[in-house]
């Protein structure tokens, strides 16, 4: 579970040494461009829709104190959460790799666990215990606990791979432990830390369920309110655009600040030292996120679930229906996402060049698009362009594909890149056409990577809330929306079965995932 829920940071994707030197075949370029273009539909339509409103209207809305207040709230929360996750996550990673604590593996697993809990579920769990929780500090706290693993895991991995020799050298040259770490080790783990921080930042920018439950008004909350409370949709569209701009600024900033550090050869492991008297302190820091992000909510959930009244009131057919809808939608999203991501992943894995980079970047756009923005723009788009698909699973699945395609591209790209290009050459030389070669050799060998991509999409789609709320077909409820509609009414007991089912259902692909990773590693 440690690595399965985190999309590998882009920095960590190894580029294969042997790539084709020549340009990609035009048909592959065209196909990949087409697939990437689908990912851009929501954003393009959102811009078109907003410009239709007219410049004066747009400016009028933009300068409203409300918009400013929401934007400031959003930025403050995202910045605070990112900073605290960065600090806590780096400390946790350092403890995990440099201190010899008992139950090392269990601790690592535990520190990954909060990732399995959707933010709104964590918020729900805290509200069960403390119904009064609300506002900035509550949102900051719960979000930090949920997001810390995004930093802990990649930084721990980087620390394990980082050369400790440099730090030793720095020590012998007279630096204290902290300064030696800062001078020698930090530059090596910096890309991982920044990549993790980017995920945290995007997550807190685009989160809707948690801030909504804890009543902290950010842009996502504002978008949902404007969408739900007014006949005039332009305000919602405009707020969505502001959110997208924020997200893109963050992504661009991350790309600028990311400097690749060449691998430094050397002994990769710093001898872990015994904790001594500070052991309990280290353990406490390490376990803060898992306890606050998992144990508290889950125990709250269970306490509500096991109340006699709740058990009696479980509407089994309805629960089963929601599970079925959740699974069906998630699997459909996974399959479609794989097919859409495949040309992009194949292109990015085998070819380079400016056009390839652009196509890949557009494919990754969903990474920066909050679910609520994709949901909103697809409502507009579907009504205007494909009304026959409006309020059908088609549009909802499409939204999932746009949102989670980057995860599929990431793992499929590394899967395909891991298949030596020379195997394709050999196959061609033995008389197989490019498609036969793809089917019998490349796809066959990249299957674990492709399957991981599909499962990552499935897990994410199961937990998705805001786009599902806007786009779900009439009469279809997923576990997330059922949970949401109950917690919105403060019916914590009634929400408990759905929350429990969501946790259980999301564990299925997670277990499949660790199975595939395990098998892949054995080979």
């Amino acid at each position: 579970m440690t690595e399965l829920l985190i999309p590998p940071p882009e920095t960590a994707v190894p580029r294969p040494p042997a790539r084709y030197h020549f340009g990609a075949p035009p048909w592959l370029l065209a196909l990949a461009a087409l697939c990437a273009a689908t990912a851009a539909i929501p954003l393009v339509y959102l811009v078109v829709r907003t410009t239709e409103a007219g410049l004066t209207d747009v400016l009028d809305t933009l300068v409203r104190p409300r918009v400013l207040q929401l934007t400031v709230n959003t930025v403050l929360l995202a910045a605070a959460v990112t900073l605290s996750c960065l600090v806590l996550g780096t400390i946790c990673a350092w403890i995990l790799t440099r201190i010899r604590l008992p139950f090392q593996r269990t601790l690592l697993l535990a520190s990954a666990l909060p990732l399995a809990v959707p933010s709104y579920l964590a918020a729900y769990g805290w509200l069960v215990w403390f119904p009064h929780l609300n506002g900035f500090w509550a949102s900051w706290f719960v979000m930090t606990m949920v997001c810390t693993p995004y930093v802990t895991l990649p930084v721990a991995a980087a620390l394990r791979g980082a050369s400790a020799d440099l730090e030793s050298v720095a020590r012998t040259l007279g630096r204290g432990p902290l300064r030696a770490f800062a001078a020698a080790t930090w530059p090596q783990i910096r890309p991982a830390a920044i990549a993790g921080a980017l995920l945290v930042c995007l997550y807190s920018l685009s989160d809707f369920g948690l801030v909504s439950m804890l009543r902290f008004q950010t842009l996502t909350w504002g978008i949902n309110a404007a969408y739900g409370a007014s006949f005039d949709r332009n305000q919602a569209a405009l707020l969505a655009l502001v959110l997208v701009v924020l997200a893109l600024v963050v992504v661009a900033g991350e790309r600028r600040s990311r400097r690749q550090v060449g691998g430094i050869p050397g002994r990769s492991t710093m001898p872990a030292r015994a904790p001594g008297k500070t052991g309990p302190l280290f353990a406490a820091v390490l376990l803060a996120a898992p306890i606050a992000g998992v144990v508290v909510p889950v125990v709250g959930l269970l306490s509500r679930l096991l109340e006699a009244e709740t058990l009696r009131a479980i509407d089994v057919p309805r629960l089963v229906e929601a599970i079925g809808a959740t699974l069906g939608l998630a699997l459909a999203a996974a399959v479609v996402a794989v097919f859409v991501a495949l040309p992009i992943a194949a292109l990015a894995a085998r070819y380079q060049g400016r056009l390839v980079a652009v196509i890949e970047a557009v494919g990754f756009l969903g990474h920066a698009l909050p679910g609520i923005v994709v949901g909103l723009s697809l409502v507009f788009f579907a009504l205007a362009a494909v009304p026959m698909f409006y309020q059908t699973s088609v549009v909802l699945v499409f939204a999932y594909v746009v949102l989670f395609m980057p995860r599929a591209i990431g793992s499929m790209r590394s899967g395909i890149a891991a298949v030596p290009a020379s195997l394709g050459d050999v196959s061609r030389m033995l008389g197989l056409s490019p498609f036969q070669t793809w089917w019998r050799v490349t796809a066959r060998l990249a299957l674990p990577g492709i399957a991981i991509g599909a499962l990552l999409v499935a897990i994410s789609a199961m937990k998705e809330l805001p786009a599902t709320l806007l786009l779900r077909p009439t009469g279809v409820s997923t576990l997330a929306t059922e949970l949401w509609s109950r917690t919105a009414l403060f019916e914590f007991g009634a929400a408990a079965p759905y929350a429990a089912a969501l946790v259980l259902v999301a564990m299925v692909p997670a277990m499949l995932l660790s199975g595939i990773r395990g098998t892949a590693r054995e080979n």
Binding site: H21, D425, S427, M429, L430, G431
Partner: protein
């Protein structure tokens, strides 16, 4: 007239020319080695011939069939060429047998036969029992599949299922260069061809193994068998031995060369290893900077290199400054008989000028001879260092002018450090005009 003809081939990546006007003829049934340092474009040449990358200009014909030319760019799978890459590149998801059969057409019949080489000679079927684990074999058995005798197969190497990847290394088995008469009839099943090739490369007891269980040498043999299976018109070998350790390398390459010759294969081998090129090939093309500098037999290239760079690339040299004196050169070793190497197109002394020009004098270390020092010789040398290599040694001598030359001396004739000797030559030195 070559079986394979490459004319005016040009390949460019953007503005950089990788191949510049390359022309090459490969006679039918011969092995041509393209020799050059890394980055000289030799792999690009091979990939261009294979159709794995587009060319800018030029034509390639194989057996009179145009595969690359203006407006013609036949797909790699339609060129009928075999490809042996540097790292063997076996399909990791297929067994050795399935790898060998990868390029063989899957007719309905052959697909069923594919699993079972036949039950004819008692023990053989048992050896291949693992082959049938997909359970397809029991559905259809060839009524009369002609099973070729297994050469160098289970007969000569005892099957040892429990042995690890080390079994069947070249030390234990040998390739049997027995000629094989092509049997192209439909009756000739895919399975039989796999068995035939497996035994040809001496791996018949390993057909059921996964590639990960093979040693490097074994993997390269499978790669070779796989490329040979569809009976290609031209074999392309991309530094096939480079990844092997030196001992294995020399053993395997001899076997492979013998096998390719025995099969009457036309082959193009790319290598940066001059020893490999000289020992294996019928003809060697020396490449540098995207151009072919010299094409000839190994002896030609070694004995009469077109310029000092080629000379240095294909072997050790002794280089001296000299002055051309009509058939002889004056240099630090005295006056030596020499050949004028001025015009690459017409190597020989015929077009040599009379007297005077300064030249670069080139010798091979083994061309030098040692003699007892004459009383007042001005060209006496002092032995300063000996690099001993068992059968012979490279001995460094310091000439009176302070110049150091190295001679290859057979072990029994070795001088001792400090000995004074007179150096002579066995054969004509090569005199290259200074550019």
């Amino acid at each position: 007239m070559g079986w394979v003809a490459i004319d005016g081939l040009r390949v460019a990546y953007g503005d950089t020319r990788v191949l510049d006007d390359v022309s090459l003829r490969i006679p039918r049934g011969s092995l041509v080695a393209v020799l050059g340092p890394s980055g000289c474009g030799k792999t690009t040449l091979l990939r261009a011939v294979a159709g794995l990358l587009p060319v800018t200009a030029g034509t390639i014909t194989v057996g009179g069939r145009l595969v690359t030319g203006p407006g013609v760019q036949r797909a790699p799978e339609k060129r009928g060429m075999g490809w042996v890459p540097q790292d063997a590149s076996l399909f990791p998801h297929l067994t050795v047998g399935e790898n060998i059969g990868f390029g063989l057409p899957r007719t309905k019949q052959s697909d069923d036969l594919y699993c079972e080489p036949g039950e004819a000679p008692g023990g053989v079927a048992g050896l291949f029992a693992g082959f049938t684990r997909r359970g397809r074999a029991n559905r259809a058995r060839p009524a009369s599949s002609p099973v070729r005798p297994l050469i160098g197969g289970p007969g000569s190497v005892p099957a040892a299922p429990g042995r690890g990847p080390a079994s069947g290394t070249p030390g234990h088995t040998h390739l049997a260069p027995a000629p094989i008469t092509p049997d192209r009839s439909r009756q000739y099943s895919r399975a039989a061809r796999i068995v035939e090739l497996a035994s040809l490369v001496g791996l018949s007891d390993l057909v059921d193994r996964a590639p990960s269980q093979l040693s490097g040498g074994q993997a390269q043999r499978v790669s070779l068998a796989r490329a040979l299976a569809p009976r290609p018109d031209l074999m392309l070998l991309d530094e096939p031995f480079a990844a092997l350790d030196p001992l294995l390398r020399s053993a395997l390459r001899t076997e492979v060369a013998a096998l390719l010759h025995a099969q009457h294969n036309t082959s193009l081998l790319v290598t940066h290893d001059q020893e490999e090129a000289l020992s294996l090939a019928d003809f060697v093309a020396v490449m540098r900077g995207g151009e072919i500098l010299q094409f000839g037999t190994p002896a030609d290239v070694y004995e009469r290199p077109v310029d000092p760079w080629v000379a240095g690339f294909v072997g050790d040299t002794v280089e001296l400054d000299g002055i051309w004196r009509g058939g002889r050169v004056d240099c630090a070793l005295g006056s030596l008989p020499a050949d004028w190497m001025g015009a690459p197109s017409d190597v020989g002394a015929a077009s040599a000028p009379a007297d005077g020009p300064s030249v670069r004098v080139l010798l091979r270390p083994e061309w030098l001879t040692l003699a007892e020092p004459a009383a007042d010789s001005k060209t006496d040398a002092v032995t300063t260092a000996i690099a001993y290599a068992g059968h012979d040694a490279l001995v460094s001598f310091t000439l009176p002018g302070g110049l150091v030359v190295r001679a290859r001396v057979a072990a029994p004739d070795l001088p001792r450090v400090g000995d004074r000797v007179t150096l002579g030559v066995r054969q004509n030195a090569l005199a290259y005009p200074l550019a």
